[in-house]
Symmetry: C2
């Protein structure tokens, strides 16, 4: 028996990260029974994002233009380049109001156990970006997890070997935590104490 | 500033039941960064289900034809009509292999606190369906929760007043539990002991 449209939808929802079969079933029933408009809007939003969203040519974050608004902002200090794992981590740093430099977004972190090598991340572009002749310091703000530390370690080696000054957020950030969940004052403090 | 395609996508994912803002963000990043194919397939699956899935004219469950495969099955005992809350509950009963009658799927249950009245469910069609002249017994298999019991109570009154024999799954089903999570032998037992 071939798959029904309902089964196809449940399978597609099940492929979302963190969504089990039961949740996918509930989502599908909910959308079809109670919120068909939300289902239609989600389909349009997916198509819209797939068509519009690409990577910033300078910092690799998601953007809809060639260069993202942060990289396009002349008021920012182009001598500082802060390397983060995700747009959510960047947003957390922005909310502190303590950082006025530019960013580079890796879009992930090294995870050898999951088969994610550094070369799978946006790190290829980082060295080139950091060597633009304007950047004086690269601040590594990857997570203070084993994987984030390993990522920072490897990046630091590559950047230092090319003569760049490399710092790391201070250990004010509690170990084992993901940056986006850390309170803002802690992040601000760690930023000032970078080593 | 108008909303970006990425923000629109995060909002649309956030409208899925059980998905918070952080989860929606992670889903959007994951889809755009690592699984654009899944995003495209989900959009197609949503459109496909919206176009194809409707309610069975006899039992109100989701189906793609006028009448669902179960209702179309001549081998089933049309004298028995089992009322369940959801297609998942129906699937649980089917897996017991102990029931060979037909179904009526309410697509929800009464939930006064959430503003869901009996009239919001597929219950309007139930009385008409049960009075087809063939049905001899209506088995109420709504959940053994307060809301499921209340739903069963109201349905029983309406059906009995029209001269139908109404039974309820036996109390073998643990109180407070949702049918779809109950082990199959318990459901089978409760089916035999219906009162
Ligand atoms: Zn940028
Ligand atoms: Zn049917």
């Amino acid at each position: 028996m071939s798959q029904t449209a309902l089964e196809t939808l449940i399978d597609a929802l099940h492929r979302l990260p963190g969504v089990g079969v039961k949740s996918a079933q509930r989502m599908a029933f909910h959308l079809l029974q109670h919120d068909r408009q939300a289902a239609a809007e989600l389909a349009r939003a997916l198509d819209g994002a797939l068509a519009a969203v690409r990577h910033c040519a300078r910092c690799y974050t998601f953007t809809e233009g060639e260069i993202c608004p942060v990289c396009s902002d002349d008021a920012r200090d182009a001598r500082l380049l802060c390397v983060v794992e995700t747009p959510a981590d960047q947003a957390a740093l922005e909310r502190t109001g303590s950082y006025h430099g530019l960013y580079y977004v890796l879009m992930g972190r090294m995870s050898p156990l999951d088969g994610v090598a550094l070369s799978d991340l946006g790190s290829q572009g980082l060295v080139q970006r950091a060597l633009d002749g304007v950047v004086e310091e690269v601040i590594l703000a990857t997570s203070f997890t084993a994987e984030g530390e390993a990522t920072a370690h490897v990046l630091a080696q590559g950047l230092k070997s090319r003569g760049l000054k490399v710092t790391r957020l201070a250990r004010g950030v509690p170990a084992g935590s993901e940056l986006e969940y850390v309170d803002l004052s802690t992040i601000a403090h760690a930023l000032n104490d970078r080593r």
